[in-house]
Amino acid sequence: MTTPSILDKIQSAAGNDGRHGQLISELFSVFLVVTLVFYFLVFAFLLWAIFRRRRGDSREQPLRAILAGWVGLIALGLAGLTTASWVFDRRLARADSGPALEIEVIARQWWWDVRYADNDAHRVFRTANELHLPVGVPARITLRSSDVIHSFWIPNLAGKQDMIPGRENDLSLLPLREGVYRAQCAEFCGLQHARMALDVTVESPAAFAAWRAAQLRPAAAPAAGPAQAGQAIVTGRQCASCHAIAGTPASGQVAPDLTHFASRRTIAAGTLPMSRANIAAWITDPQTPKPGNNMPRVPLSPAELDAVTAYLETLR
């Protein structure tokens, strides 16, 4: 059991859990040291100016010489930092190259539409608000937006890139440590910008393959009972007009894909932890935990709610 530290946080640029993040942290350390040195110099000069015992005559000439030296020192420091920045930029670019796992993320107000690409069309699958990545394997994320500007940011792994409607950006990742992380939208995108998070799981290649295989399977038909009744409601009523569940008639494209909904860590892009109670709470009233989001309140009787919840729980 490792000692919990501030660096074990799951949404932290100091986490250094990916190659890009590590390089940036190294660069930051260089900057921190150099800037601290300069701050110390300025502070020391200030203190001296305040506490110095005056001896009457003005020291204009030596001060001019020191000014020239100071300018030179600053220029040198800045040149060094600019060079360091450029060097690390090149190293980051090199970390981007090579074959990679291709993923496409389309940001929407206020959730993430995730598509794992593949040359074989039968191996493409869609999920929402989550990312699974095999450790040690490069991944390239294509970033798009269907409405306003969002920004994709997994601080533990790398810097961010904006998702701009009408443009396609990309972000490269190289996760180095297994674990769970939290990403968050980093460009103000409207009412629920604060509740637009993404669950990231970095796992062994074997575990990733298993997850991927599970994702490719359509939703299992539920056993008889409330879950079956729930399926009938979900695929027959408004739910299907927005949501898709592979293996059922539900094929709405404008809301998160629900095929493996219950296998996710959270509901509604990080708003609520996944649990039976929270599924029920969300369906009953999506507007209270995340006011203004695009899911309407769907009127359901208590029995119907029970059935729908039971069905959704089967979608693993």
């Binding site: 799951i10 640029a13 409207g190």
Partner: protein, 639 residues
């Protein structure tokens, strides 16, 4: 050539008799009408400063609401819609209604006094600009109170702020407020440029001009060259929203990055427009309280100019995460780093002035010390953010919030508080309490550090900006709580400052013309100055006129006293050139401002208002400029 028998200042007309004549000519009618029609730069300057501080208080209130909400995770104190309006109002108010206006306002009051002239150039334009500014501020705040306040952040990115994703009037209010405030700021910039270039006292060559005047000259040129970009951008936004243009619509050959380029082309120089006047304040304060002329005058002037110039080449560093070509970014990193050089030069020169002088740590100089301590941190975190890889982690996080509050509060507000304390006797005739001032400084300093230092850590720990809440368990709780406590302490400091000012206006120690024994020409007038500023226009022989001429200030004479007349001098050498008639009080600037405000506000509802509304504006402007009868003289004063 004017007839010889007209009354003029000089050896025959000086002292009390001159004062009476000049007061009659340069004073204004008492009561409301006089107040509404005044063109006295001092009166308008004070009006501007007070209004700006009211907006600062309102913006600060918004900040306290933000901090109250964020003190704890998942706080349900404020709903997201209101919160998004609140943080937008905070930034918008501070940047458009406080920071730039207050700096321009200080210049409006001080520059004519410092240069030895009787009024600012284009006095009626000055009056007009205040009313337009006030109208813009009222528009914004009335809208907010009515729940129609803008809610897309102070820089209002499209497509979020566009017609599809922000229906209603909220963003229209924001965009039109920008139009109001930019017009006001541009007008003042034109006045200050003309005043500095043409109305300096004889002998005040550019090389002898006060450093604050140099700062304001550079700032005015920056305003002139940067504000058109944001005016154009906000006009494009309004027209996309109201009349169906497609500037920012990527589905119709438009581009949301066009907004970002136009906005930040203004937005980056904007922050130096806010900082450079403060650098001017620091230069003046450090000189007076170190009791020696500023060290490195030429270097400081070059640093001002260099900062102004460079600031136009940095704007893309706000867009490092948008996916533009990396090679282009490298240029902006280099430029963003380079601007640290003139900053470093100024810091050295100011500290060197203290080091080499005999400093007295009265409250204004304390604020300068606080400024150095805080601003340099902000400058250095700015250097960090100039690096693209580092920025890609820290952009849009609380690290950036920390950075810009360090440079804005450290770099502008601290010097401003010092400047208000320093020139308070000139504004009001009384001194602020020195004891309260010292307590005030420490309270403000400690509150500031507590409020903003933890934000660096929050950014590194992954907390994004502009979030109305955050989950527990990410390690953000303690820093947020400390920050909230600090914010309230800082608010206490600002409140104490205001109380000190208000009480001192009535009960402060009465001040003579030059209570600090300062060297500038503004200290040769009474405290507060008479309506005509200097009784005789002074002649300047060096950079520190009152230190160089302790017994008697040399003056020129021969200006008419029965008509408003001031002296125009040549641009470089300040040789006397023309006797310029200066504008009399007039109600037309107010009328024109009302017509302009009506036109702008109604054009938010229908584009035809722009056309129809232009007619009363034109009428008001024609009335404004229509010359008065050339041969009217005021009644001769009988002693």
């Amino acid at each position: 050539m004017s007839p010889r028998d007209l009354p003029r200042d000089g050896p025959e007309l000086t002292g009390k008799a001159l004062h009476a004549r000049l007061e009659k000519t340069w004073g204004r009618a008492p009561g409301l009408w006089g107040w509404l029609s005044t063109v006295d730069h001092k009166e308008i300057g004070v009006r501007y400063i007070v209004t700006a501080f009211v907006f600062q208080a309102l913006g600060g209130l918004m900040a306290l609401l933000i901090r109250a909400q964020l003190a704890t995770p998942e706080s349900g104190l404020i709903d997201p819609d209101r919160y998004n309006q609140i943080f937008t109002m905070h930034g918008t108010t501070m940047m458009f209604l406080f920071a730039v206006p207050v700096m321009e306002a200080m210049a409006v009051f001080l520059i004519p006094l410092m240069l030895g002239t009787r009024n600012i150039a284009f006095p009626r334009l000055n009056a007009f600009s205040y009313w337009v500014y006030l109208a813009g501020g009222i528009l914004l705040w009335v809208a907010f109170v009515l729940d129609v306040g803008p809610d897309a952040g102070w820089f209002s990115y499209v497509p979020l702020a566009g017609p599809e994703f922000s229906p209603g009037k909220r963003i229209d209010v924001w965009a039109q407020m920008v139009t109001f405030t930019e017009i006001a700021a541009l007008a003042v910039a034109v006045e200050i440029t003309a005043t500095i270039l043409k109305q300096r006292a004889p002998g005040m060559t550019l090389a002898r001009m006060p450093l604050f005047a140099w700062a304001m000259l550079v700032v005015s040129l920056m305003v002139i060259l940067s504000m058109p970009a944001v005016t154009l951008a906000s006009s494009f936004l309004l027209s996309d929203r109201l009349v169906g243009t497609q500037f920012f619509n990527s589905y119709e050959y438009g581009d949301s990055l066009l907004w970002q380029h136009l906005f930040w082309f203004f937005g980056h120089p904007e922050v130096y427009i806010i900082f450079l006047p403060a650098a001017g304040f620091v230069s003046e304060i450090v000189q007076t309280f170190s009791r020696r002329p500023a060290f490195g005058y030429t270097a400081i002037v070059l640093a001002f100019a260099g900062t102004g110039l460079l600031s136009f080449g940095l704007w893309v560093h706000h867009m490092f995460a948008t996916g533009l070509p990396r090679l282009g970014y490298a240029f902006y990193t280099a430029a963003s780093m380079t601007i640290a050089i003139p900053a470093g030069v100024q810091i050295f020169c100011w500290i060197a002035t203290m080091w080499d002088g005999r400093p007295k740590f009265h409250t204004p100089l304390l604020y300068v010390v606080g400024f150095v301590i805080v601003f340099v941190v902000g400058g250095l975190t700015g250097v960090m953010l100039a690096s693209v890889p580092i920025d890609l982690q820290l952009h849009d996080t609380y690290f950036v919030v920390a950075h810009f509050h360090y440079v804005l509060i450290g770099g502008a507000v601290f010097p401003l508080l010092g400047a208000v304390t320093y020139w308070f006797p000139k504004f009001t005739g009384r001194m602020m309490s020195e004891t309260v001032g010292k307590w005030n400084f420490w309270l403000t300093f400690v509150g500031f550090e507590l409020a903003f230092a933890p934000m660096h850590w929050l950014g590194i720990l992954g907390m994004p900006r502009r979030v109305y809440t955050y989950p527990a368990g990410l390690g953000w709780e303690i820093s947020n709580m400390l920050s909230t406590i600090g914010a309230f302490v800082l608010a206490g400091g600002v409140l104490l400052f205001v109380l000190n000012a208000l009480v001192s206006m009535r009960r402060g120690k009465v001040a003579g013309p030059n209570p600090w024994d300062a060297p500038g020409l503004e200290w040769a007038t009474s405290s507060p100055p008479a309506s005509y500023n200097h009784a005789h226009i002074p002649v300047v022989t060096g950079r520190v006129p009152l230190w160089e001429n302790r017994e008697a200030l040399p003056v020129v004479h021969g200006l008419r006293v029965d008509d408003r007349e001031l002296l125009l001098t040549t641009v470089i050498d300040a040789r006397p050139d023309l006797r310029e008639p200066s504008a009399e009080p007039s109600i037309w600037p107010l009328v024109a401002a009302l017509a302009t405000a009506t036109m702008f506000v109604s054009s938010m509802f229908t584009p035809w208002a722009a056309l129809v509304g232009a007619v009363p504006v034109a009428a008001a402007l024609i009335a404004w400029f229509w010359p008065k009868d050339p041969n009217v003289h005021p009644e001769p004063v009988i002693d």
